[in-house]
């Protein structure tokens, strides 16, 4: 068993889907409080990695440790209870409910010893939800049905729901995908501000390198299921392999 200072550690992870290798000998450790972005082209293995960490997929070989406990075989529910929450590329929210009710469900799932006779809409719960709405600048959307909300707001709600449980690690799957270019920075600012309140480790998948540069301290680059670079932002984004296979910024000289 791995014992070190890493909050989360993947050791020798391999995962294939038929002939496609989604993860090849992944070894990575994440320390408490880090802001880490996972980059790579489509199919590079970022989301597969995220799905394995959160228990949706099981690695073919290798182990994942969280707080030095092997969580490889656990299901998403138990992993969430242990302190790893996630948001989704396509927000997974409860469409017929309002923003407020979505947060109420998230809060309810995080509470132990539920009473079957106490109204979920208690003052205590209401106060906490109002606080979350303020943190994510969602007040004006509180009582609107979420199916009517714009994309950026849905993303914020998805993240807010994941945060209600006060996890140790929050994984964000492409928090700015599907959001207009002019909305990306305000959205990330809101997310960064909301997350700064917590003593939180954040891992996010992102395709926009400007976002990566501005909002993460460390970058892990994936290519064909392998980690090809893992270091601070500047170093990784200047890495030749990363430029060739991920960011596509290498200038090929004309012959």
């Amino acid at each position: 068993m791995s014992k070190n200072n890493d909050l989360l550690r993947a050791e020798g992870i391999n995962k294939s889907f038929g002939a496609v290798t989604a993860a090849k000998d992944i070894n990575v450790g994440i320390k408490k409080g880090e802001r880490v972005s996972l980059i790579g082209s489509n199919g590079a293995g970022k989301t597969t990695f995220m799905n394995m960490v959160t228990g949706y997929l099981k690695p073919d070989t290798g182990n994942i440790f969280f707080k030095n406990e092997n969580i490889t075989s656990l299901n998403p529910r138990v992993i969430t209870q242990k302190g790893i929450s996630r948001s989704f590329q396509i927000p997974q929210i409860f469409e017929p409910m309002s923003t407020w009710e979505n947060l109420l469900v998230a809060l309810g799932t995080s509470q132990k010893n539920h009473s079957y006779f106490k109204n979920a809409r208690s003052k205590e719960n209401s106060d906490y939800i109002d606080e979350m709405l303020s943190r994510f600048s969602l007040n004006e959307f509180a009582h609107r049905q979420v199916s009517e909300l714009p994309g950026g707001v849905r993303k914020l709600l998805d993240i807010a729901m994941a945060l209600v449980r006060k996890p140790d690690i929050l994984l964000l799957d492409e928090p700015t995908s599907g959001v207009g270019a002019e909305e990306k920075y305000p959205l990330m600012d809101t997310i960064a501000k909301a997350l700064s309140v917590e003593d939180l480790t954040v891992i996010f998948v992102e395709h926009d390198m400007d976002i990566v540069q501005n909002y993460s301290e460390r970058v892990v680059a994936f290519y064909q299921g392998e980690i090809i670079a893992d270091d601070n932002c500047d170093k990784v984004l200047k890495d030749k392999n990363v430029q060739e296979y991920v960011t596509g910024k290498t200038q090929v000289k004309a012959k």
Binding site: T54, N75, P76, R77, T80, Q81, S85, R86, F88, Q92, I93, F94, E95, P96, M97, E101, L104, V105, A106, G108, T109, S110, Q111, H114, S115, Y116, F117, K118, N119, A120, R121, M161, A162, V164, R165
Partner: protein
């Protein structure tokens, strides 16, 4: 009247129960019987809407309806227990327990698989019951007359007393169910209906929600079966037949899952349609029922409960 009072569950329930008890004095005996039967069916429907709130529909609630009915009947004939209140309570507990035993198997399935597996249970029970001659086979058997706290009412009052008992017991059960719907677990059940995966990713178990809801539905179904058996004074395997289960689904679709009283209104509508069409248009009541169902699905897809919800939401927002 203050909006807060109108929205109070206790006030609503006590008002409705009192009204029905008083009205029962003035309406003809056949209608008292029809309403009692509607309450019995409504209890089963309440179980199904509890399941519906968690995204499941059972096509086989005849299973628990039958177990409840036979429990009350066998207790009456075999052990001499004839107290209607006790029989209803015991049937509720026993059938809930049976539900708890089979719920972990059913809860592994979703959608049509859950529905058909529940139907399969009811058909197996039906097949067993018609073969057991000791309990009347396909003819069933007659239940002894009910008593209430050791007193056997005279025949002209027995229907009304059962009517009152069923209203009070159903009122109490409905209040408890409403509390459950409004509680955190009740809200999580609604979330499971919409997005089971997300509920798991928020740290709750959709499986546990399904087990709990099926157990509740089983208890309610059993109580409904016992009430129906006591009201008819007879129990037979038809209680578990698939057409009986279909009627419960009809009630639930007509009611929708948004309101508790709506399910009893839907059950009453079913009973009235059955009674009147049976009288004026013999052998066509299924046709009338079918047309009724088509119209309700087209025009009130969320069920008549959506009207109730809109009405009470108006007061909530004041």
């Amino acid at each position: 009247m203050s909006p807060k009072l109108i929205n109070n569950i206790f006030f609503q329930s006590i008002f409705l129960m009192s009204l029905l008890i008083v009205v029962g004095v003035f309406i003809p005996n056949w209608l008292v019987f029809v309403i009692t039967k509607a309450i019995a069916y409504g209890l089963v429907g309440l179980g199904i809407i509890t399941l519906m709130r968690g995204g499941l529909v059972s096509f086989g609630q005849g299973f628990v309806f039958g177990i409840g009915g036979y429990t009350a009947g066998l207790l009456g004939t075999q052990s001499g227990l004839t107290d209607a209140i006790l029989l209803l309570f015991i049937s509720f507990i026993f059938t809930g327990f049976v539900g708890l035993i089979i719920a972990p198997l059913l809860a592994r399935y979703r959608d049509i698989f859950f529905a058909m597996l529940s139907l399969a249970f009811s058909m197996v029970l039906y097949g067993i019951l018609i073969k057991i001659d000791a309990i009347g086979g396909s003819d069933g058997f007659v239940l002894p007359e009910s008593t209430y706290f050791g007193i056997k009412p005279s025949p002209e009052y027995s229907d009304y007393i059962l009517y009152v008992v069923s209203i009070i017991m159903t009122g109490i059960v409905s209040i408890i169910i409403k509390y459950y719907y409004d509680s955190t677990p009740g809200l999580i059940a609604l979330a499971v209906r919409e997005n089971e995966l997300r509920v798991e990713y928020l740290g709750s178990s959709a499986f546990n929600v399904a087990v709990l809801n099926f157990t509740i539905a089983a208890g309610l179904g059993g109580m409904g079966g016992a009430l129906n058996g006591i009201a008819l004074g007879h129990i037979d395997p038809e209680f578990t037949y698939w057409t009986t289960s279909g009627e419960f689904v009809f009630i639930s679709i007509l009611a929708g899952y948004l309101s508790v009283p709506a399910v009893f209104l839907a059950a009453l509508l079913l009973e009235l349609v059955r009674s009147f069409s049976g009288r004026y248009f013999p052998d066509t009541w299924q046709l009338i029922l079918g047309v009724f169902l088509i119209l309700s699905i087209i025009f009130i897809p969320s069920g008549i409960g959506s009207f109730f919800k809109k009405f009470f939401d108006k007061f909530k927002n004041k």
